[in-house]
Amino acid sequence: MIWILDLLLLLYLVVCAVGVMRTDDLLSAVILFSSYSMVMAIVWQQLNAPDIAITEAAVGAGITSMLFVAAISRTSRWER
Protein backbone atom coordinates (compact mmCIF):
# COMPACT_ATOMS: atom_id res chain seq x y z
CA MET A 1 0.00 0.00 0.00
CA ILE A 2 3.04 2.27 -0.03
CA TRP A 3 2.21 3.25 -3.61
CA ILE A 4 -0.54 5.52 -2.27
CA LEU A 5 2.11 7.59 -0.47
CA ASP A 6 4.26 7.64 -3.61
CA LEU A 7 1.29 8.73 -5.72
CA LEU A 8 0.44 11.54 -3.30
CA LEU A 9 4.05 12.74 -3.25
CA LEU A 10 4.28 12.73 -7.03
CA LEU A 11 0.97 14.61 -7.32
CA TYR A 12 2.31 17.17 -4.84
CA LEU A 13 5.43 17.53 -7.01
CA VAL A 14 3.33 18.25 -10.09
CA VAL A 15 1.16 20.77 -8.23
CA CYS A 16 4.27 22.48 -6.82
CA ALA A 17 5.92 22.70 -10.24
CA VAL A 18 2.82 24.23 -11.82
CA GLY A 19 2.55 26.66 -8.92
CA VAL A 20 6.16 27.75 -9.30
CA MET A 21 5.54 28.31 -12.99
CA ARG A 22 2.31 30.27 -12.64
CA THR A 23 2.91 32.57 -9.68
CA ASP A 24 3.98 36.18 -10.16
CA ASP A 25 5.43 36.54 -6.68
CA LEU A 26 9.01 35.34 -6.96
CA LEU A 27 9.41 34.94 -3.19
CA SER A 28 6.40 32.60 -3.15
CA ALA A 29 7.98 30.74 -6.06
CA VAL A 30 11.16 30.26 -4.02
CA ILE A 31 9.23 28.92 -1.03
CA LEU A 32 7.25 26.57 -3.30
CA PHE A 33 10.48 25.39 -4.89
CA SER A 34 11.98 24.73 -1.46
CA SER A 35 9.02 22.53 -0.50
CA TYR A 36 9.34 20.84 -3.89
CA SER A 37 12.93 19.95 -2.98
CA MET A 38 11.94 18.56 0.42
CA VAL A 39 9.25 16.31 -1.09
CA MET A 40 11.68 15.33 -3.84
CA ALA A 41 14.09 14.18 -1.12
CA ILE A 42 11.38 11.87 0.27
CA VAL A 43 10.77 10.55 -3.26
CA TRP A 44 14.48 9.80 -3.65
CA GLN A 45 14.33 7.92 -0.36
CA GLN A 46 11.35 5.94 -1.68
CA LEU A 47 13.45 5.10 -4.74
CA ASN A 48 16.15 3.60 -2.45
CA ALA A 49 18.64 6.39 -3.06
CA PRO A 50 19.41 7.81 0.42
CA ASP A 51 22.63 9.43 -0.78
CA ILE A 52 20.78 11.58 -3.31
CA ALA A 53 18.08 12.25 -0.72
CA ILE A 54 20.58 13.78 1.70
CA THR A 55 22.13 15.86 -1.07
CA GLU A 56 18.73 17.06 -2.31
CA ALA A 57 17.63 18.07 1.19
CA ALA A 58 20.87 19.93 1.94
CA VAL A 59 21.49 21.62 -1.41
CA GLY A 60 18.04 21.92 -2.94
CA ALA A 61 16.15 23.07 0.12
CA GLY A 62 18.97 24.77 2.00
CA ILE A 63 21.55 26.51 -0.12
CA THR A 64 19.71 27.05 -3.40
CA SER A 65 16.66 28.70 -1.85
CA MET A 66 18.84 31.06 0.17
CA LEU A 67 20.77 31.95 -2.99
CA PHE A 68 17.44 32.65 -4.72
CA VAL A 69 16.31 34.84 -1.83
CA ALA A 70 19.60 36.75 -1.98
CA ALA A 71 19.15 37.25 -5.72
CA ILE A 72 15.58 38.49 -5.17
CA SER A 73 16.77 40.90 -2.49
CA ARG A 74 19.16 42.39 -5.02
CA THR A 75 16.54 42.73 -7.78
CA SER A 76 12.74 42.90 -7.56
CA ARG A 77 10.17 40.71 -5.91
CA TRP A 78 7.45 40.79 -8.57
CA GLU A 79 7.70 39.30 -12.00
CA ARG A 80 7.21 41.84 -14.76
Binding site: P50, I63, S73
Partner: protein, 158 residues
Protein backbone atom coordinates in the same frame (compact mmCIF):
# COMPACT_ATOMS: atom_id res chain seq x y z
CA UNK B 1 4.86 43.57 0.74
CA UNK B 2 6.22 46.66 2.45
CA UNK B 3 7.64 44.45 5.17
CA UNK B 4 9.64 42.47 2.66
CA UNK B 5 11.00 45.58 1.02
CA UNK B 6 12.20 47.01 4.29
CA UNK B 7 13.74 43.65 5.10
CA UNK B 8 15.44 43.29 1.75
CA UNK B 9 16.75 46.82 1.42
CA UNK B 10 18.35 46.83 4.85
CA UNK B 11 19.50 43.26 4.64
CA UNK B 12 23.10 43.45 3.66
CA UNK B 13 23.85 46.57 5.67
CA UNK B 14 23.22 46.41 9.38
CA UNK B 15 19.65 46.56 10.63
CA UNK B 16 17.74 43.32 10.76
CA UNK B 17 14.30 43.03 12.36
CA UNK B 18 14.69 41.74 15.87
CA UNK B 19 12.95 38.43 16.40
CA UNK B 20 13.59 36.52 19.59
CA UNK B 21 12.20 33.21 18.35
CA UNK B 22 14.29 33.14 15.17
CA UNK B 23 17.47 34.19 16.96
CA UNK B 24 17.07 31.68 19.78
CA UNK B 25 16.22 28.85 17.39
CA UNK B 26 19.18 29.62 15.15
CA UNK B 27 21.55 29.86 18.10
CA UNK B 28 20.26 26.55 19.40
CA UNK B 29 20.21 24.65 16.11
CA UNK B 30 23.49 25.74 14.50
CA UNK B 31 25.81 23.45 16.53
CA UNK B 32 23.59 20.46 15.83
CA UNK B 33 23.49 21.17 12.10
CA UNK B 34 27.27 21.45 12.02
CA UNK B 35 27.63 18.27 14.09
CA UNK B 36 25.35 16.39 11.67
CA UNK B 37 27.39 17.67 8.74
CA UNK B 38 30.62 16.49 10.35
CA UNK B 39 28.98 13.12 11.02
CA UNK B 40 27.96 12.75 7.38
CA UNK B 41 31.45 13.70 6.20
CA UNK B 42 33.28 11.37 8.57
CA UNK B 43 30.98 8.41 7.93
CA UNK B 44 30.92 9.01 4.18
CA UNK B 45 32.52 5.68 3.29
CA UNK B 46 30.31 3.36 5.36
CA UNK B 47 26.91 5.09 5.37
CA UNK B 48 25.00 7.13 2.79
CA UNK B 49 26.39 10.59 2.33
CA UNK B 50 29.88 11.80 1.76
CA UNK B 51 31.89 14.94 1.41
CA UNK B 52 29.45 16.92 -0.71
CA UNK B 53 26.22 16.62 1.35
CA UNK B 54 28.05 17.12 4.65
CA UNK B 55 29.88 20.15 3.33
CA UNK B 56 26.62 21.56 2.00
CA UNK B 57 25.07 21.15 5.46
CA UNK B 58 27.93 23.01 7.16
CA UNK B 59 27.75 25.76 4.53
CA UNK B 60 23.98 26.00 5.08
CA UNK B 61 24.55 26.48 8.81
CA UNK B 62 26.89 29.39 8.07
CA UNK B 63 24.24 30.85 5.73
CA UNK B 64 21.70 30.52 8.56
CA UNK B 65 24.01 32.50 10.84
CA UNK B 66 24.36 35.23 8.21
CA UNK B 67 20.62 35.44 7.58
CA UNK B 68 19.68 35.64 11.25
CA UNK B 69 22.47 37.69 12.79
CA UNK B 70 23.56 39.76 9.79
CA UNK B 71 26.38 39.53 7.32
CA UNK B 72 28.86 41.41 9.50
CA UNK B 73 28.38 38.96 12.34
CA UNK B 74 28.89 36.06 9.95
CA UNK B 75 32.02 37.66 8.54
CA UNK B 76 33.26 38.07 12.10
CA UNK B 77 32.97 34.31 12.62
CA UNK B 78 34.68 33.23 9.41
CA UNK B 79 36.42 35.89 7.38
CA UNK B 80 36.98 35.86 3.65
CA UNK B 81 40.67 35.05 4.05
CA UNK B 82 39.84 31.98 6.14
CA UNK B 83 37.53 30.63 3.46
CA UNK B 84 40.20 31.33 0.82
CA UNK B 85 42.63 29.18 2.83
CA UNK B 86 40.00 26.46 3.28
CA UNK B 87 39.28 26.36 -0.44
CA UNK B 88 42.99 26.23 -1.24
CA UNK B 89 43.28 23.11 0.90
CA UNK B 90 41.71 21.25 -2.02
CA UNK B 91 45.21 21.03 -3.51
CA UNK B 92 45.85 18.19 -1.06
CA UNK B 93 43.27 16.17 -3.01
CA UNK B 94 45.87 15.81 -5.76
CA UNK B 95 48.65 15.00 -3.29
CA UNK B 96 46.54 12.26 -1.69
CA UNK B 97 45.75 11.01 -5.18
CA UNK B 98 49.47 10.48 -5.74
CA UNK B 99 49.43 7.92 -2.91
CA UNK B 100 47.91 5.49 -5.40
CA UNK B 101 50.87 5.98 -7.74
CA UNK B 102 53.35 5.59 -4.88
CA UNK B 103 51.71 2.29 -3.96
CA UNK B 104 52.30 1.05 -7.46
CA UNK B 105 49.03 1.62 -9.27
CA UNK B 106 47.07 4.36 -11.02
CA UNK B 107 46.19 7.89 -9.86
CA UNK B 108 43.51 7.90 -7.11
CA UNK B 109 43.26 4.12 -7.18
CA UNK B 110 42.17 2.63 -3.89
CA UNK B 111 41.60 -1.09 -4.14
CA UNK B 112 44.10 -1.78 -6.93
CA UNK B 113 46.79 -0.08 -4.84
CA UNK B 114 46.19 -2.42 -1.94
CA UNK B 115 44.13 -0.21 0.36
CA UNK B 116 41.07 -1.72 1.98
CA UNK B 117 37.55 -0.91 0.84
CA UNK B 118 36.15 -0.35 4.30
CA UNK B 119 34.43 -2.57 6.84
CA UNK B 120 30.84 -1.81 7.85
CA UNK B 121 30.87 -0.37 11.34
CA UNK B 122 34.54 0.61 11.66
CA UNK B 123 35.33 4.23 10.99
CA UNK B 124 39.02 4.23 10.00
CA UNK B 125 38.98 1.50 7.43
CA UNK B 126 38.84 2.68 3.84
CA UNK B 127 42.27 3.71 2.70
CA UNK B 128 42.31 7.29 1.50
CA UNK B 129 38.57 7.76 0.92
CA UNK B 130 37.93 9.39 4.36
CA UNK B 131 40.72 11.91 3.73
CA UNK B 132 39.28 12.75 0.30
CA UNK B 133 35.82 13.12 1.88
CA UNK B 134 37.12 15.54 4.51
CA UNK B 135 38.84 17.67 1.85
CA UNK B 136 35.72 17.76 -0.33
CA UNK B 137 33.62 18.69 2.71
CA UNK B 138 35.83 21.67 3.61
CA UNK B 139 35.83 22.81 -0.01
CA UNK B 140 32.06 22.61 -0.45
CA UNK B 141 31.35 24.28 2.90
CA UNK B 142 33.55 27.28 2.19
CA UNK B 143 32.28 27.51 -1.39
CA UNK B 144 28.63 27.60 -0.38
CA UNK B 145 29.34 30.15 2.33
CA UNK B 146 31.35 32.36 -0.04
CA UNK B 147 28.67 32.17 -2.75
CA UNK B 148 25.95 33.44 -0.44
CA UNK B 149 28.07 36.09 1.26
CA UNK B 150 29.32 37.62 -1.96
CA UNK B 151 25.84 37.51 -3.50
CA UNK B 152 24.11 39.14 -0.53
CA UNK B 153 26.71 41.72 0.44
CA UNK B 154 26.21 45.31 -0.65
CA UNK B 155 29.80 46.15 -1.38
CA UNK B 156 30.25 47.15 -5.00
CA UNK B 157 33.74 46.56 -6.28
CA UNK B 158 34.50 48.43 -9.43
Amino acid sequence: MQQFWRFSVSWGVETIPEDLIIKTTARFMTPFIQLFGAYIILHGHITPGGGFPGGALIGASMILLAVVFGLSEGKKRISHDTSIVLESLAVFYIFIGFAGILAGSLFLSNRAAGFSLGNPGSLVSAGMIPALNIIIGLKVASTGKTLFYSLASREVEE
